[in-house]
Amino acid sequence: MAFREYKIGARMFGLALASSMFITLVMPTLDIRSVGSTDIALDKQLAAGRETGFNLDDPFLLGKNKPLKVLLHADPKTNAPLDAPRYVYVFQAGTAFPSGILHPVTLGENQAKLSESQGQISAADKTVGAVFAVAHGAIDGKEYPFIENLTATRGWTPADILQVSKDEDVAHVGAGKTLFVREGCWWCHTLLPEETQDWQVFGAPPALGDFNGESPTAFGSDRKAPDLLHVGSRNSSREWLMMHFFNPRLVQTHSIMPRFDYLWGKTDADGHPIDFDKWRTEYLEYHDGKRVVPPEVPTYAKDSEIRYLIDFILSLK
């Protein structure tokens, strides 16, 4: 019996589903594949690293094996000050390289050409680590951004960079984005100003080429809170963010954001244990009008999860 009498139907079904998959999968993928990276896309993938969702390098999403985005003031070899401070992306030994280094084709045709010829990205070796930067070059008189492997072109190693950099110039953007994903910030905060009038409040919507190499894009769908794509340009105060994450009601009475005080970990910047119960009791007294000022928010330790998250938020320019 089987499906014999449904021979035509079964073939029609196969044809319909195959055509629909061709139109909705193959055609868009080919189209998207031809989009060249912008500066923003290169910055995002170099800063965040290969993957900020679940992956075997960091299965519990703790922010392990992620690159560092460093603001460099001086040449690490000669110690001579640079003309202008520049961002470099430090991949210490063992840190997975992002998509654009492993598969330059995802950068876009010209970006890939420049990255391989002038940027020497194919010389980068994960086992010893590498330092990258975004550079600009021209093909046929037109300028394109590309990835420069500074370890190959200048001989700068990750250790060199970290030796000359102060902690305040180092941003744990990749680890921070991992926490952004793990803590579900994107369930309420989008990373996608809409192509309507949003640009007046939340800044310019992203362009087609702003995403190459990013995973997950996590732009969110349900906006219960302000868009964050350009939040670092609107508010660059670490102190404000610190209070806001510890208890959002400290800086915004009507906020419905959850508290993220647990990201502080057990100790503060000086290594003293944080007494959360005492803090909450005092906060409730403040809330009930029994205290004039709220209790002090503990300063986070420099390797705490909240520091990573704030580094990521501030990198969203």
Partner: protein
């Protein structure tokens, strides 16, 4: 359940898999709506339970979504397939033992998957949040055995034709495996950038369009003719429904990203195809409304018919919203607002849940040969679900319109949050009513299994009068 896992195949009584799937689905429904209610309370009262990673909104939101989609809805579907597919083929389920194993593996995998999600191990992709090893498990250990059982039962049927419901079951079980494997490709092969963003929504769209919507409709195509005794009004309109689902529902994935940077042709194409979703919707609703001719008293008197027809009626506003809210003219206003949240609950908690609840009510009574223990509890369940859902939907729709206005008139965001506060409380109350109703349902079905009047052989449960 465990004693049947290793029993000889012929010792597993027919209907065992359906009973386990049925009760599992109700338990997951209680868990899923409980989580939903708790999450909603956090949006209304953010300081209620705090300072604990395990009860943080961002850790629990996706657990709610996946508990209801893969626990409640998909297990209720599996339950319906376990008893409807053989009934329509005038035969037994191909392998009752495979069905029992399927239910066991399903509960196991879902528990594991939700635990890792809760712990924060997420792919960071909405609706495909599960890490890739869970995705592979779901495709191979949950959906593939189900598809095998459904397909083999249909192939081994003892009727000449295949009834409408079984077309949908066969096609959907096949398509859901494909959707799972293709939609999660970014995780399997580390695809990045816009391809990843687009495929995320390709998956989200198709898991709804090629799995939840058609299977829910297929269940109604069985329940209404079976319980009312009227034959389906039109086989031809059923054809129209089936083919237009395959052609129109599988294509508009990009309309979820109308405000995102995607190629413009793709957005325009998706938008046009999205309006054409009205074709299967109208075919489905009109076919079932016309099947009810002469039996409308059962809408009042019979619980299963009432659930099903309520779900079918909800398909009207659902598809009017769905067809038009994704056009650019409307989408720019409501994109990313609570309106969409309301719409998603209209689809899953309104339309689809009411159809599946009827199938679970009817199926458990039929297989266990026990009359529903209490019509009163059933009625309370129905009204708590309907009123709770309506409160939720109305409040979130209004909240969405406020957000939309705030968006285009550039109102400072905190003012939008303040304006939404009453609706967040209403949403929590509505969700809690649904949760309460489901606890009563679980009790009612448990008592049915234990205390329900035995249905005599040759009789259907709905032919007996309710006793309580």
């Amino acid at each position: 359940m465990f004693k049947y896992l290793f029993a000889r195949a012929e010792d597993v009584p027919p209907g065992t898999a359906a009973i386990y799937f049925g009760f599992s689905s109700i338990v997951w429904f209680v868990i899923g709506t409980g989580l939903g209610s708790f999450n909603a309370s956090k949006l209304a009262f953010p300081d209620m339970v705090t300072g604990n990673e395990w009860f943080a909104f961002g850790h629990m939101r996706q657990v709610h979504v996946h508990a209801v989609i893969f626990g409640w809805i998909s297990m209720a579907f599996a339950m319906a397939m376990m008893y409807i597919t053989p009934a329509l083929g005038n035969t037994k389920l191909w392998s009752e033992k495979l069905g029992v194993w399927n239910c066991f593996l399903w509960n196991l995998g879902l528990t594991l998957g939700l635990t890792v999600l809760w712990a924060g191990m997420t792919s960071g992709r909405e609706y495909s949040d599960f890490p890739w090893f869970i995705d592979i498990y779901i495709a191979l250990c949950m959906f593939l055995p189900l598809a095998t059982n459904v397909w083999m039962t249909i192939i081994k049927r003892r009727t000449q034709g295949i009834y409408t419901t079984n077309w949908f079951f066969a096609a959907s079980t096949f398509m859901v495996v494909i959707v799972f494997l293709v939609g999660n490709a970014p995780e399997f092969f580390h695809l990045t950038g816009l391809t990843e963003g687009y495929l995320t929504w390709w998956f989200a769209h198709n898991i709804l369009g090629l799995w939840i919507t058609p299977v829910a409709a297929a269940i109604a195509y069985y329940t209404i003719p079976k319980v009312t005794g009227n034959p389906l009004y039109s086989h031809r309109i059923g054809h129209l429904h089936f083919w237009s689902v395959v052609v129109f529902y599988s294509t508009p994935a990009a309309h979820h990203l109308m405000s995102a940077p995607l190629p413009e042709w793709l957005k325009s194409f998706a938008s046009v195809e999205g309006v054409l979703i009205l074709v299967p919707a109208i075919a489905f609703v009109s076919n079932l409304m016309l099947t009810m001719q002469g039996k409308w008293y059962m809408f009042v008197e019979n619980l299963e018919v009432r659930f099903t027809i309520t779900g079918v009626l909800m398909a009207i506003p659902l598809n009017m919203q769905g067809g038009f809210q994704q056009t650019r003219a409307i989408n720019w206003y409501i994109h990313g607002t609570g309106w969409i949240v309301a719409h998603a609950h209209l689809a899953l908690l309104g339309f689809s849940t009411f159809l599946e609840a009827a199938a679970v009510y009817f199926g458990l009574q039929t297989i266990m040969r026990r009359k529903l223990y209490s019509l009163t509890l059933g009625n309370i369940h129905f009204w708590l679900l309907l009123i709770g859902f309506t409160i939720y939907w109305v409040s979130m729709t209004i909240a969405g319109l406020i957000q939309g206005a705030g968006k285009i008139y550039e109102v400072p965001y905190i003012d939008v949050v303040i304006a939404e506060h009453p609706y967040m409380i209403a949403r929590w109350i509505g969700g809690t009513m649904v949760f309460t109703g489901n606890i009563l349902w679980l009790i009612n079905m448990w008592l049915t299994a234990r205390e329900g009047t035995v249905v005599p052989s040759g009789r259907m449960p709905h032919e007996l009068a309710y006793e309580r």
